[in-house]
């Protein structure tokens, strides 16, 4: 009985690929999907601890200050060229400086990522701010995709890590502002249209 489970034996060939894909049957998820979902929806959402206003204000200022402080130029570690030729020292110093710069940007990137996760507050997000937030995260994901390209030059890596740090700083600043607005009973959307 080949025709029972091999319908193409009798079915006309599809006109195009869209026809072929459209003819594929929809697939059924596991039976317990709704039960699992309704349990999640019914569960009380954990309330995040709300900071008192003065503390939130102080925290926002500290976060921004810390972000700026972290970005301060850091001198590369001292090197001891004793015994090496001048040329070797120059090459090592150049590649060493690149490595230090890259390492510094990676460290700041990781720090900002952690900070971003801590200041992000989905409870304070409106539709518009959630969209902006997702856009900023998509920017970071795009940079991550570029960083995975094989055989990137050092200059390209530096540019991408700089872009990643900048994107994360934007995202963190945005979330900090969002949280600040929320502590004052305001939302990002409303702040956009205020003129006073």
């Amino acid at each position: 009985m080949p025709d029972a489970d091999r319908p193409f034996a009798s079915a006309p060939p599809p006109r195009d690929w869209s026809d072929a894909f459209a003819a594929l049957p929809l697939l059924a998820p596991p039976e317990d999907g709704w039960r699992a979902l309704s349990a999640r929806l019914a569960a009380p959402r954990p309330r995040r601890r709300r900071w008192p206003l003065p503390l939130a204000a102080a925290a926002s200022v500290l976060i921004v200050a810390a972000s700026v402080w972290q970005w301060r130029p850091v001198a590369p570690p001292a090197r001891d060229p004793d015994g090496a030729s001048r040329a070797t020292v120059a090459v090592e110093a150049a590649s060493g400086a690149d490595a230090v710069a890259l390492e510094r940007m990676r460290a700041e990137s990781a720090w900002l990522e952690t900070l971003h996760g801590r200041v992000r507050d989905d409870d304070a997000a409106s539709g518009v701010s959630a969209a902006v937030s997702l856009e900023l995260e998509a920017r970071v994901a795009g940079i991550d995709a570029a960083l995975r390209r094989p055989s990137l030059s050092t200059a390209e890596q530096r540019a991408l890590w700089q872009a990643r740090v900048a994107a994360l700083r934007d995202a963190t600043d945005f979330e900090t502002s969002n949280r600040w607005l929320a502590t004052q009973g305001m939302r990002y959307d409303a702040a956009l249209v205020r003129v006073d």
Partner: protein
């Protein structure tokens, strides 16, 4: 040269949702939630499985998508756009986010000189066999399969796919051409039963 859009077909998501049902869901009625879930569980699960290639992952995508849809349904304003389009966008984003998180968004077919071959030629007869087509699709790399599915099944343009996948329109076009050719090859290897 591939066309910028696939021939127009109704997406499996294109399900009309009565205004009263949406109003019930916005009011937080569990019965309305369940009705919405039941209407869209298969389109979301199918799309997620085509993009992620794994049932467990597809199930997770379905759950996450529906949690977002139902908890943010108050954000849906419509404004001429159908509810299903909003829901589908959330599902696609959720599936692609998972690919990126698992570092599988780079799973593609290598580019070659024939990448702009015509993709509009009719598929081989074996494409009419759902089981064979399903199996052939499963053999494609995740990102390539995603491009094919978004283009042919959901009708996204190359520019839209590029934006969704954070790539370029050229990437979408070349993966479509390469993936379609690979799919044709895989199906042509199948013995015909006609």
């Amino acid at each position: 040269m591939p066309a910028d859009t696939a021939p127009a077909r109704a997406s499996s998501f294109a399900i009309d949702v009565p205004a009263a049902l949406l109003a019930g869901a916005r009011a937080g009625e569990p019965a309305a939630f369940e009705q919405l879930y039941r209407r869209f569980e298969r389109p979301v699960f199918t799309l997620a499985l085509r993009l992620c290639g794994d049932r467990d992952e597809a199930y997770d995508v379905l759950q996450e998508t529906m949690v977002k849809v139902l908890s943010r349904i108050g954000d849906f304003r419509g404004g001429g756009s159908p509810f299903w389009g909003w829901l589908r966008q959330i599902a696609v984003n959720e599936a692609l986010l998972r690919l990126r998180r698992d570092r599988r968004d780079g799973d593609t077919l290598a580019v070659d000189d024939e990448d702009h071959a015509d993709t509009s030629a009719a598929p081989p007869p074996a494409a009419a066999d759902a089981a064979l087509l399903h199996r052939a699709l499963a053999q494609l790399p995740a990102a390539t399969r995603g491009v094919l599915w978004l283009y042919h099944a959901e009708g996204y343009t190359h520019d839209e796919i590029a934006a969704l996948m954070q790539r370029t329109a050229s990437f979408s076009k070349s993966q479509l051409a390469r993936g379609t050719r690979r799919l044709r090859g895989l199906l042509s290897e199948e013995p015909t039963h006609a």
